[in-house]
Structures are given as C-alpha cells and as structure tokens.
C-alpha cells in the first residue's frame, strides 16, 4: 500500500509546492526539512510556475511493470521558469518531434495505479506547447 506516502506528497505532486529557505532563499523541490545550502530549518511555501523548457529527454521502450503497457514514452528533465529542474514523463508526445529547448507546460495526469483495486495516483507531467 502506498497511500500514506502518496498523501504526504500531494502538495508537491498536485500543486507544485516548494519550500523557500527563510535564511538563504534556496528553493527546494520537493520541499525539504533541512536546507541543502545553509542547513536552515525554517521555510516558506511557494508555488512553482508550471511552464519551462525541455533540457534533456530519453525514450523508454521497455518499461517497468506498472508502465510496460504505456511504452514507448518519453521522460525528460524540465527547467521551470523558476529555475528549478524536475524529472517527469512527457505526455501526449510525438516522440519523433521531441527536441531540446522545446517549451513545455505541466499538466495534471494519472501517474500510476496501485494494482487493480488500489488507489489511483495523480500528479504532474509535461506536455509540449
């Protein structure tokens, strides 16, 4: 069962909530308990912008069990306008036309299912715009 972990991650997976360190302003995504820059422990919550550009990508042709029926699909590194870099699946992609530097937007999609009877897990994926 992945319900507890999934519920904890909802703020970042659904709403792109990140933490900004009160001491040094370092932004961490996903949010952290200790700032990786200054070891500060006080943060404010900010919401990241949902647009960015595709820095790099790969095409998965042999997926893990949960994703084996979705192949081929692309996974990319996105640099959001805030400067934060995230790794995410690229949805609805024309794999032949993907290119570094393309503008992308994050959308709300189903990420995985916890088996046939378990919970459905949602979060962000990128689409090329």
């Amino acid at each position: 069962m992945i319900t507890a972990r999934y519920a904890r991650e909802i703020p970042q997976r659904y709403r792109l909530e990140a933490s900004r360190c009160a001491q040094c302003a370092t932004v961490s995504f996903p949010p952290r308990l200790v700032c990786p820059t200054c070891k500060g422990r006080t943060f404010s919550t900010i919401t990241l912008q949902n647009e960015g550009k595709l820095l790099s990508y790969t095409v998965v042709r042999v997926g893990s069990d949960k994703f084996s029926k979705e192949t081929p699909f692309a996974v990319g590194i996105i640099e959001l306008k805030d400067g934060i870099r995230i790794t995410t699946q690229i949805a609805d992609a024309n794999l032949e036309k993907l290119a570094h530097g393309q503008t992308v937007r994050l959308v709300f999609r189903k990420i995985q299912e916890d088996g046939k009877a378990g919970i459905l897990c949602y979060g962000y994926k990128a689409i090329v715009v």
Binding site: I10, R15, K69, A91, D92, F108, R109, K110, K116
Partner: protein
C-alpha cells in the same frame, strides 16, 4: 442575479474516425457516418480520466473567472465514468486546484445529464446564499461496448462552470427539470459497459424528456424560440439534437455553434456542457442561450442564459473548445484505440 462567472472546457488530443470503427466490425463506413452524422470522436489518453479532464476544464474556468479558488464553497462533478466507485472525484480536484479543504464536494451520476445536475445544484447553492461561488462540472470518458452502436460515439471531454453573483459572464434566468422512470439505458453495478433499449432510447426517452423540459422552460419564461441566439441540446449523435431542436421550433443556425458532436462524439455528462462552452466562446453581450440536457433513466435539465458585457473580457483567457477540437489531433487505429480504452484482456 446568479449565473456563470467562469467557464472552461477540455478535449483530449486523441481521435478515432467512425469509419475506422465501422471497418473493424464489418459495417458500411459511409452508412454509419451518414446515419449518425458523426465524423470522429475524442479518445482519452492512457493517463487521462474523468478526474484529469475535470481538473483541466476547471483550471480554465478559474482562469476566466479570475477568483481566489479558496472562495469556492462547493465542487460537484457529474459523470458516469468516475474512476472510483467509492471516493468522490472532486476530492482530488479540489486538492489539485487549491480549493479545499473548506469545501463541500460530491459526485453526481445520472447518465448523460450528471453534468447539468452538478451545474444546477451549484447554481442553487449560490442562489440560496449559502456560498459565494460553487462549481459544477460535467466530464466523462464514456463507455461503449465493442461492436455496440455506442462505440461509434462514446467519447471524452468535459466542461466546468463557476456560479456566482458578481461579474457574471452569463446570467441564469430560468431553469426547469423533467424526470421519469424510463429504462432506456442503464449499467448495473459491476458491469463494464452500459446496455440500452435500441430504438426505445429515441421518442419515449430522449425526445419526450427534452421536449417536456424545453416546452416547460419556454412557458415559464414566456419566451419563444425566435428570441434566442443559440440553442444546445444533449448530443448522443449528430441527428438527435437537430431533430429535437426542430420539434421545439429552433433553427439550424441557432444550433450551429453548440453542435460539436460530429467532431467530438458524445461526451455523455460533458456533452451539452461542452456545447454551452463552445457557444460562450463566440457569444456576444445580450445573446440569449437555450439549453436542455438529457440523461437516460431518464431526465432533462433546462437552462436559459443571458450573456453579459463581461463575456468579451474572458473569452480569450483560456483555450476555446473548437480550437481544441480542430488542433493537435492524433488519430488512432482500432488496435491503438482498444489499448487506450482498455478493451484488451491482459494478464494481471
């Protein structure tokens, strides 16, 4: 006055042509396309469902309304393809959009009119003074059994409407509902696909209820069909809405803007709401809109809207429905479609 302060619609990228489905089952593609007045239908991506479609439509509605999501007091999602049997779709939506947790949510089901049910209740809450804003959504990833007539039309999409009292883009002037026990279409608990009564879905069901609600709405409002700029009805195929509009006294010109079914298919709970969104995309201040949904089982919800001056400020704040229908299309063959719609048996 209570009405719509923001609206949004969403259509997936994927399509399958009716002729491709016809060829798969040995039917005459020309006869099917002509008989249903339907060219193609939308198909959800493998990672799309009623919840993701509702979120996308609601994001556009919020963008047009320009309000703080926290001010929304209720969110209702009407669908017959809620991903969970037990857990309201809107629980996920409100967390995705930052609306909750001080919000009332529910899932509605009433075949193809669950969306207008959600809109009706959202409107009533605001009218009663219970809350400042409420959102009603109609969305579906409609089911149709392989080889069944429904497979040609059952499609995916949805529309969201935020009801309020200030800065309305469309006032709701009148409503009327018409309901009876009519077993024209149903799905029993645990069944994968709905069943229907064939021709019984026509006159005793679709036409009786829409005409019943429509006539009552005209009487209640003391208006005539000629008073309206636009009319939209539930769209199970291309022909039924044209015919029911004609029976009520509306012309093809009045129905053209909302008649999206030939290129979208029947989005079930999202059908007439998406038609309304397509109309709002092109409406001008002062235009009157006549809308009647239909849900098997059976019932119809009718609404009369008057578009306000605000409409021109919000139309371009989010993608328009026909733009989404006409652009970025990815056509599937029947094998891909069967995979996307999980019609293939797999080892678990």
């Amino acid at each position: 006055m209570v009405g719509i302060v923001g609206y949004g619609a969403y259509v997936p990228r994927y399509r399958i042509k009716a002729e491709v489905i016809a060829k798969q089952w040995g039917a005459d593609p020309e006869a099917v396309t002509r008989g249903l007045s339907l060219v193609e239908k939308t198909v959800p991506g493998q990672d799309e469902d009623t919840i993701t479609i509702s979120v996308a439509a609601a994001q556009y509605a919020l963008r047009r309304a320009g309000i703080d999501p926290k001010e929304i007091g209720a969110v209702y999602v009407g669908s017959e393809s809620h991903p969970y049997a037990v857990k309201p779709s809107a629980t996920i939506l409100i967390d995705a959009l930052g609306i909750g947790p001080h919000v009332h949510v529910a899932s509605y089901e009433f075949a193809c009119k669950a969306g207008t049910e959600a809109m009706y209740v959202a409107y009533s809450h605001v009218k009663a003074g219970e809350m400042k804003y409420a959102m009603g959504i109609g969305a579906d990833t409609s089911q149709g059994a392989p080889g069944d007539a429904l497979e040609y039309t059952a499609s995916a999409g949805g529309a969201a409407f935020i009801m309020g009292r200030e800065r309305l883009v469309a006032e709701i002037l009148f409503t009327h509902s018409y309901t009876s026990d009519t077993p024209d279409f149903w799905r029993r608990e645990g069944e994968n696909y709905p069943r229907h009564g064939g021709r019984f879905t026509g006159d005793p069901a679709y036409f009786r209820h829409i005409v019943g609600a429509g006539k009552a709405l005209l009487e209640k409002s003391k208006m005539a069909p000629a008073d309206f700029k636009f009319a939209v009805f539930h769209m199970p195929n291309g022909k039924f809405p044209q015919e029911v509009g004609k029976r009520l006294g509306f012309t093809k010109d009045q129905m053209e803007a909302g008649w999206i079914v030939p290129w979208m298919g029947n989005t079930y709970s999202g059908s007439s709401p998406c038609g309304l969104a397509a109309i709002l995309d092109v409406a001008k201040p002062g235009d009157l809109i006549f809308m009647v949904s239909f849900g098997s089982g059976a019932g119809s919800d009718g609404f009369i809207y008057r578009v306000t001056d605000e409409i021109v400020k919000v139309q371009d704040r989010a993608p328009k429905l026909r733009q989404m229908l006409d652009s970025d299309k990815v056509y599937l063959d029947y094998g891909q479609y069967a995979k996307y719609r999980r019609k293939i048996k797999l080892n678990e």
